[in-house]
Amino acid sequence: MEPIVTANNLSRQVKTADGELTILDDIELSVMPGDAVAITGPSGSGKSTLLGLLAGLEDPSRGSIRLLGHELSELNQDEKAALRAGNVGFVFQAFYLLNGLTAIENVEIALELAGRDHQREAAGELLERVGLAERMNHYPPQLSGGEQQRVALARAFAVNPRVLFADEPTGNLDTASSELVADLFFDLRLQYGSALLLVTHDSTLAARCDRILTLGAGGRLQS
């Protein structure tokens, strides 16, 4: 079986006033379909950057990334976007919902971008699944943090993603909301069978994954 995501010899440097700073160095990683991988590490260790690189949201300085069988360096921005549409789901710490759209429209737009038009019913079902049946027509600023993150979960799973990238999905939530979102998150993952790459500080959340990788000093990844 081919891995969903692989990274070989992956490095990322940025230019600073004091010269070049290495954020990620020689990362090797492979995620198989259905795998759940947690990436932990101290603040500033480059976890979110690694997630962004693996999802094709930014380009590495060196090395190669294969996502869903495609070498990302060979794809342009539009081809990467087309690859993500319908195959990749995202959950961010800051939710990143589109404030101009209602909860249901936020879910619907992910389906539309995946080429599945007029899926209002499917979007509504997912929102019901995350407990927001009564809040479907509310705009993000009218929802609490926990509710917004549940909309983000519905959006991420709406396209039945083969891989899910989650960056601190509970990082902005209180304990009660955090537990609710985490339970929903892992339940949905099991239901949809998506592979998961999860960046988190939360050890209990990381413990619910199959593997835990740690980004240490110097941007190296350790099992």
Binding site: F90, L98, E112
Partner: protein
């Protein structure tokens, strides 16, 4: 410290847009101001030729010697003249009343006299004044007393040779209505030998003065303090209402056009200042935590604003000063004449305008900075509160009002423009709000369409502000482009090619029929003959008129002079009633008067007042029933005072008319004067040319203003885009992560901006049409019929222009890797 702070703040945004908007505004005001001044000086210098000088002081008594001495001491040129009526006697004993003008060797200081070897001949420039023992006489005198050039005539105790026919005296036009007798010009040094002037003689003593603007100003100031009764001052403005009228209109239009740049830029400054304040909220919260007082915070940010304003205004001023050279060269090329050198003061005024605009438009958002909720900001829950509506409105109104008054120099016009600007702002903001709200209500089946629509509907606050800013810019652009053509064409049409270029006065009533027949025979169309009745104003509401009691020189002159009154059944074409009402058919027998507004205002006369005129020893009283705005630059026969036929019937009168005579009919003039020797014919072609020239100058300058409006519009666009760029870049990154293509992102942004631009364009077109119609009526004096193109251009141009420009402004955001956008937000 301040400079370091500015350098730091510069990168966070807001300040560069403020600086750009200010530089554009100051550049516009400076270049248009300098150009305007140069054109004004050029035109005044040309117009001064109709006065023979830059300034004339006139008295019924011998001129005090210190007047000329003072003018000479200020480096000014001086010429002395005496004008008086006298009888001339030919060798065969024919006598005729003439108007004698004795001039010194410096006459004229501006322009030149033209003389010919035969009456009504082609005039040549006279390089000097009449020789000793010689006179120059008006062509009319030769035919009236039947003498030839070279004949001798007696004037007082002296005999003179009529050496040439006087075709044109440069300063003759201004007084032609008062000059019933033909002119005779002689040397001032010959005057004592005639014995005609004694201390009790009825004469006008004149001192003509010409020179630099500075010298003339100093001299005028000295005259203000020189207390000598009976001294009357005349400038170009007094001499030529047609030129003054055209210059005033040109100045008003250009000044207000350049102010529209300031107001559009002001919108940009305000939005940029809002953005700047928002960006500085965290810094301010931290400063507050570290113990900075509110006062210190306010001082810090105001100081930064003022420094940025100073530097950018100075840069704008310098650019404007350079830019006007380009503008002037265009004008010089088009007109084939050289403009006077540029003055420095419009640049200083421009810089002052920049400072005022920076504070007036940029201060309100900063005032809220010291009052931020520290905890709210640090928790990321709150930002800077929006500025107080009343403070903003107060500052903006005060600034706009002050600037408009400074430019218009007139309270009524200021109130008009202020009212219009306020209506414009309110209409654009409210109209924008309503239309965006309606757009937001549109149901779209696809979420991506809904995203575009809802983005507009959701950002109602900033959206309506963007509509306001874009709308101001588009309205200004429409005003100076599409409406400019309509306005200037309409203005030019007020002096079409057949505009009367000859005035005929002293026509006797019994010559009326014969003259009409002459016109028909010569195929000349005349607008009709108007009665002209001379009378002196003696009582106002029953109280005797004392000219010296009026505060202004103009009013004193109006009150002291003899009026040319007329009576008319209909309102003349180039007149418009601005107050009261024109008489109806049933009122023609009543004793009613209609006054020119400026004349009435300067004399403090209102509707309902009684005015008594003494005509041939008889006092006639009429009631003022209407005030009229008169288009002096229409070159039709116009009067300060018009009466109902009922008031002036039976009074001794002459007739006056104006008509157009094409250049190829020059011999018609000679035939006219031969057939009607008692009439006086005046040529006003040069005046018409000057007014046309002024309109052309405005046309060149307005194209230049258009460019500045465009730049100011770009500043507004940047400011408006910057205000929502954070949210847009975040949304773009999210959509990108979800799989949106570049094309779809571009399209979404374009559609959003295009909708915004279309709405702004529609509202702007409506505002431009309304404002131009009012401007045409109030400033230019004609009724405007705007074409449909303004609507199409407003909507389509607004949608396309703002759509493309907005998308281009977000180019970097759309092209950046999605993760970068998410991290930055």
């Amino acid at each position: 410290m301040t400079l370091r702070g500015i350098r730091r703040d510069w990168r966070t945004g807001g300040l560069p847009v403020i600086a750009l908007a200010l530089s554009v505004a100051v550049c516009a005001v400076t270049s248009v101001g300098v150009f305007n001044e140069r054109v004004r000086q050029a035109m005044q210098s040309r117009a001064a030729q109709t006065l023979g000088a830059d300034l004339v002081i006139q008295s019924h008594n011998a001129m005090p010697p210190e007047v000329a001495q003072k003018a000479l001491s200020l480096g000014l040129e001086v010429s002395q003249q005496v004008e008086f009526p006298s009888m001339i006697l030919t060798r065969v004993g024919t006598t005729r009343l003439v108007s004698v003008k004795a001039v010194d060797q410096h006459y004229p200081l501006r322009g030149s006299a033209r003389t010919a070897q035969r009456p009504y001949g082609d005039g040549e420039v006279a390089g000097m004044i009449p020789g000793q023992g010689e006179i120059w006489a008006h062509s009319r005198l030769f035919s009236e007393v039947e003498i030839d050039v070279g004949a001798t005539v007696q004037l007082g105790e002296q005999t003179f040779r009529a050496s040439r026919a006087l075709i044109l005296e440069p300063d003759g036009f201004s007084s032609f209505f008062h000059m019933a007798a033909p002119r005779v010009m002689m040397r001032l040094s010959d005057l004592p030998t005639t014995g005609l002037i004694t201390p009790s003689s009825r004469a006008h003593y004149r001192t003509q003065v010409a020179g630099t603007r500075q010298g003339l100003t100093s001299f005028s100031q000295w005259l203000d303090t020189y207390e000598r009764a009976g001294l009357e001052r005349r400038t170009v403005k007094d001499a030529q209402p047609s030129i003054r009228s055209a210059l005033d209109r040109a100045s008003s239009y250009l000044g207000l056009a350049s102010l529209s740049v300031v107001i559009v830029a002001g919108a940009g400054i305000f939005i940029a200042a809002l953005f700047y304040a928002r960006r500085q909220s965290t810094t301010v919260a931290i400063m507050r935590c570290l113990g900075a007082s509110q006062r210190r915070i306010l001082q810090t940010f105001i100081l930064r604003l003022v420094v940025v304003a100073l530097v950018s205004s100075f840069v704008g001023g310098l650019l404007g000063y350079g830019g006007q050279a380009f503008l002037s060269s265009l004008a010089e090329e088009k007109l084939g004449s050289t403009l006077p050198p540029p003055a420095i003061w419009p640049m200083l005024s421009g810089i002052a305008v920049g400072l005022v605009a920076a504070v007036g438009f940029g201060l309100a958002p900063l005032l809220k900075l010291p009052k931020v909720s520290v905890l709210g900001i640090l928790r990321g829950e709150k930002g800077v509160a929006p500025p107080s509506m009343w403070v903003t409105l107060g500052l903006v109104l005060l600034t706009s009002g002050g600037l408009i008054f400074w430019q218009a120099q007139e309270t009524v016009l200021t109130l008009w423009v202020m009212g219009l600007t306020l209506c414009l702002v309110v209409s654009l903001a409210a109209g924008g709000w309503v239309l965006l709200w309606l757009v937001g209500r549109i149901r779209a089946s696809r979420p991506s369409h809904r995203y575009v629509i809802s983005s507009l509907g959701r950002r109602l606050g900033i959206g309506s502000m963007q509509v306001l800013a874009f709308g101001l810019g588009i309205a200004a652009l429409l005003m100076v482009t599409v409406m400019r053509a309509d306005l200037l064409d309409g203005w030019m049409d007020t002096i079409p090619s057949g505009t009367p270029n000859r005035f005929l006065i002293n026509v006797q009533p019994d010559q009326h029929k014969a003259l009409q027949e002459f016109f028909v025979a010569e195929q000349i169309s005349s607008p009709g003959l108007f009665p002209m009745i001379r009378g002196r104003w003696v009582r106002h509401n029953g109280v005797p008129v004392d000219p010296q009691a009026y505060p202004t020189l103009q009013a004193q002159r109006f009150a002291a002079r003899e009026f040319n009154l007329t009576s008319s059944i209909d309102l003349p074409d180039s007149n418009r009633v601005v107050s009261g009402s024109w008489w109806r058919a049933g009122q023609l027998g009543d004793k009613l008067l209609s006054l020119e507004t400026e004349f009435a205002e300067s004399l403090g006369i209102s509707i309902g007042d009684q005015m008594t005129f003494r005509i041939s020893g008889v006092d006639l009283t009429g009631r003022v029933s209407s005030l009229r705005a008169v288009a002096w630059d229409s070159f039709q026969v116009n009067f300060f005072v018009i009466a109902t036929p009922g008031l002036l019937d039976g009074q001794p009168r002459t007739l006056i008319t104006s008509f157009f005579m094409s250049p190829e009919k020059s011999d018609t003039a000679a035939r006219l004067v031969r057939q009607f020797p008692s009439v006086t014919l005046f040529d006003v072609d040069s005046l018409i040319d000057q007014v046309r020239e002024i309109i052309q100058q405005v046309s060149v300058a307005v194209q230049y203003v258009f460019l500045f409006t465009l730049f100011a519009g770009i500043a507004v666009l940047i400011a408006a885009v910057q205000g929502s760029a954070t949210e847009r870049s975040r949304d773009a990154a999210v959509l990108r992560a979800l799989g949106s293509s570049t094309r779809r992102l571009w399209l979404a942004q374009f559609c959003e901006f295009a909708l915004l631009g279309g709405i702004a364009g529609l509202l702007a077109a409506a505002c431009a049409v309304i404002m131009s119609s009012i401007l045409a009526r109030e400033v230019f004096g004609f009724v405007l019929s705007p074409g449909w193109s303004v609507w199409g251009l407003g909507c389509a141009g607004g949608a396309l222009g703002i759509g493309l420009a907005g998308t281009a402004a977000l180019r970097r955001v759309l092209q950046r890797a999605p993760l970068k956008n998410l991290v930055q937000n």
